[in-house]
Amino acid sequence: MMPTKNFDQRRYAQLFKQMCRIRAFERAAINAKNEGLVLGAIHPSIGQEAAAVGVCENLNKDDILLSTHRGHGHTLSKGADPSAMMLELLGKEGGNCAGKGGSMHIADFSVGMLGANGVVGANINIAVGAAHAIKLKGENKIVVCIFGDGAINRGPFLEGLNWAKVYNLPILFICEDNGYSATTHTKETTAGGGPVVRAQSLGIKAETFDGNDIITVDQAAQDYIERVKKSGPHLLHFLTYRLEGHTSTDPAAYRPDGEADGKWSNDPIARCRNLLVEDGVSAEQLDKFDNEATAEMTRVYKIARDASFPPALDAYKDVQDIGNPQTEAF
């Protein structure tokens, strides 16, 4: 943990608020799912909020972000409107993806969030290409590409990281390591020293950090973003834990008894709260942040619940330009 003498109360209060918003958004989404309002799968990131917030808070709006199937937190942190996101999760009109994507394809290009992805690891190559375009155009921004610990066993991890280094692209890879690949302990299917050592073998500087400590994440992110701007690709490995199931309906019975209970004491939001309390912020103030987040997401939930589904014929929009996708769909 970082020395508290550097503790920037305003900043961490702000980050705390953001984490509360993510948690509240996902609680509202799970609630909606349980009520039958979300028809597809959702993959909550409860317990992993620090990595999302600590990284994204250090990005500019025009920096680019790509995420995984577990992307609500990243998308919100990057500045997306939660109503549009919730509308998307419910497949409603006004959703970011016009109801075509749902949770697994959540994206908000207007804030540089280029999409969650339903295919593990597929975002890596796409992110590398986004960074390649930035370099070609001589723009002064970076790409952040987030993936899970399971993704490092897919080919794109090798191809994408090698590529990023060969062309020296402005990209920060982030491995959010929650220990699991769906129902499997990732370590059982992963050889060698893990993402950091693999990245290093490709000439990419990489380090492991406590991903549940918001200060650590924040400072590591700041440091590494500067490094990326100076000298190309880097990788951050954040240790965290998925406090709930792989999807919202997964009871996660494959976990050793009591594992998750024990991990709640390491909840990044609770830890951040403690830091703020120690630094003199009142419990009331923190509750207020939390309640505001809950209230915001309750509003968002209601907006989404009451919205209508997109017209059926919108299914023919945005297929492709040449040829009329409706009249010539057969």
Partner: protein, 324 residues
Amino acid sequence: MKQMTYLEAGREGLAEMMREDTSVWALGEDLGRGGVFGQYHGLQTEFGKDRIADTPISESCILGSAVGAAMMGTRPVVEMRFSDFALCAVDELVNQAAKARYMFGGQTRVPMVVREPSGLWRSSAAQHSQSLEAWYAHIPGLVVVMPSTPADNRTLLMESIRCDDPVVYLEHKSLWDFEGPVDDGAEILPIGKARVARPGKDVTIVSWSAMFHTSMEAAEGLAAKGVDAEVIDLRTLWPWDKKTVFESVCKTGHLIVVHEAVQVGGFGAEIAASVTENVFSDLKSAPLRIGAPRIPISYAPTMEDEVRITAEQIIEKTLNRVGK
């Protein structure tokens, strides 16, 4: 005779084969926990971690290693989780598995089964709902199997595992809970043989997988309107049972092919074109294909339903075609 779900019947078929033949093993992600839909539930307990192998998230190695393991005399059953993820291992399937026997001049065989849960599953959107059976039927060297019933999901899986060539085995995700009789002494049809599930004289409806059931439902509706439809469950797309289909169309004069996949370039085109080429003079109307529009699959139910084929649509289009 037992009553089982489609999922249970597949699991049962695999377990039977694993008991019968120790060279059979299965590999894929999360199989130890039963697989993502429960198709492997309990099997690791019975057969151990070597024969029900949990793998890394490494689709090209899952499929590619199975090719090598098959060449070495084992019979891997590869679980791809969603047919969409099999797109991460196409070189391994198409350039390697399908061609190895041929391009090495018969020196080897690649007896493997690639299970790919396929098709629409409510609000799974564009990357978790595809039906790509037409692709596999187009590739020399691949056998393509698409069971529609619990009984078939048991026996066709067993036959596929016994097959000495690579089989793409497409189970439909919306059928997992579908119940039906298995092991009931009924004749076991081999790969390559279609089933005339409902004899009829007015029109031939050819279908497979989930759409077979929709076609049966449509046949009931058609009966109520005085049209006696013959419904054929194709069961396997390669080889496909031309004889049964041609004979039926010769009798009825009308062909409707129904599939969930995109109509453009779908396997319905192959059937329609073959039927036309072979029994042209017996046709009373042009073979009609009913498939999905050429658009990706949406998340929102309203738009998703645009690609979903219903019994009503089949009824309406069939009535139109047979002129009633």
